[in-house]
């Protein structure tokens, strides 16, 4: 017989990958819908020109990249859910009150934001968060946001032992 604590430890780690993938997916949707579509700050390739131009005149490549970006967000979400389903086989109804799951989701979201900023800064032609005279500040703000998300997720995850799913009731 294993003790409850011994059984929990691997479970907490098992939730890490699906949680982070879900976070990446959610981050992708938030970025894709809010920043790309509603605010129209940037497209994936909008570094090539002003971000505020009429959508009809944006190069066609941009929409292809936006589509791929959406596809990646979907892929992360669906794979994350599939892993979560196959790894958590008991008491799934308590899954969504698990602090470690939400913690890992925030970490995934933060990592997505950091990677997006880093790629935007380093690779010419790919977008900044918001192209313009203040783009350095926008980039810095998003780096900070990403860091805060990762740190917040890490703290949330650490306190997550008592609300762990897949434990015997």
């Amino acid at each position: 017989m294993t003790t409850a604590a011994e059984r929990e430890q691997p479970t907490r780690r098992r939730i890490a990958l699906p949680g982070a993938l879900l976070g990446v997916g959610l981050g992708g949707f938030a970025d894709g819908v809010v920043l790309h579509q509603i605010l129209r700050w940037h497209h994936v390739l909008s570094g090539a020109g002003p971000a505020t131009v009429n959508a009809a005149s944006v190069p066609r490549m941009n929409t292809v990249w936006d589509g791929l970006f959406h596809a990646l967000a979907w892929l992360a979400t669906l794979i994350g859910l599939g892993l979560l389903y196959s790894r958590v086989t008991r008491s799934r109804e308590r899954l969504w009150s698990s602090r470690s799951l939400w913690g890992w989701m925030l970490i995934g979201w933060g990592l997505f934001t950091l990677v997006e900023c880093a790629v935007g800064r380093q690779v010419p032609g790919i977008h900044h968060v918001r192209t313009g005279p203040d783009q350095l500040w926008w980039d810095a703000g998003f780096l900070l946001l990403g860091t805060l998300l990762v740190a917040g997720g890490w703290l949330l995850r650490r306190g997550g032992a008592e609300a762990e799913p897949c434990r015997e009731p």
Binding site: F29, A71, L75, T77, L78, T89
Partner: protein, 254 residues
């Protein structure tokens, strides 16, 4: 022909059917609600919202726009084929019927659900063929030019959308519903075809749709972002509905 919009007899029949179904559902649901097992308000709200979306799509400004503008057609597709069916499926109408009808009728419904035909129809492959398969057929062949504005197209889109929502997420019993991982893969294929079609539409390339570029462009955006919202709601419904423990595996590990 000058009587304005929504006068087609098939559309009128659909609207009357929607009103009757909504009234019937409400009567049965309220009766069940007073019973011992109860009936959730969320389910009632979902079903009535589905009915309301159907009415909104088939009448008024949306129908008027759809008669002349491809963006209106896409809006109708989004409402009739994706959002309304999800609401209807989440209302669990089959469960309601099974609970409220006399046992003899209930057995007949259960037998119907187990029919070989329905088993084939509700297989993941067929659900994909009926939904995105018919979309590809409609937009990538000259078929749209023939069928545009035909109310029977709405009936097909509604039935296909309902079948899809029922197979993927629906709380109603489905004897042959595929496993959660299979359903996630099916959703992935659905999303991929949808995204590709909306991209082609946005770019105005590769489709046989006789509409001006700005209409195609707008319809592509509606399809992509509206479709994303509907698909995310579908995923949410799937996740909420997945069983607390999947019988056999839980026993093995326990």
């Amino acid at each position: 022909m000058t009587h304005g919009h929504g006068a087609h007899p098939v559309t009128m029949a659909v609207l009357v059917a929607v009103a009757l179904v909504a009234a019937g559902y409400l009567v049965l649901a309220l009766r069940e609600r007073r019973g011992a097992r109860g009936w959730g308000l969320g389910r009632i709200a979902a079903f009535l919202a589905g009915c309301a979306l159907l009415v909104a799509a088939l009448t008024g400004p949306v129908a008027a726009l759809a008669a002349t503008d491809f963006r209106g057609h896409m809006l109708q597709y989004l409402l009739i084929g994706m959002l309304a069916p999800l609401g209807l499926a989440l209302g669990a109408p089959i469960t309601l019927l099974l609970r409220t009808l006399p046992p003899a009728h209930g057995r007949r419904i259960t037998a119907l659900l187990r029919l070989r035909v329905l088993q084939v129809l509700s297989s993941p492959g067929m659900a994909l063929v009926f939904t995105v398969g018919s979309l590809v057929l409609l937009y990538c062949t000259p078929l749209y030019g023939v069928l545009a504005g035909n109310p029977l197209l709405h009936v097909h889109v509604l039935l296909a959308g309902y079948l899809f929502a029922y197979v993927i997420a629906g709380p109603d019993p489905a004897p042959h519903r595929p496993s959660v991982p299979t359903r996630l893969v099916v959703l992935g294929v659905f999303v991929a075809v949808h995204l590709t079609l909306s991209q082609l539409m946005y770019a105005g390339a590769g489709l046989y749709v006789p509409a001006p570029p700005e209409q195609l462009h707008g319809a592509g955006e509606i399809m992509r972002y509206g479709g994303n919202v509907a698909e995310l709601l579908l995923v949410l419904a799937l996740v909420i509905g997945w069983r607390p423990s999947s019988g056999r595996r839980a026993v093995h590990r326990g």
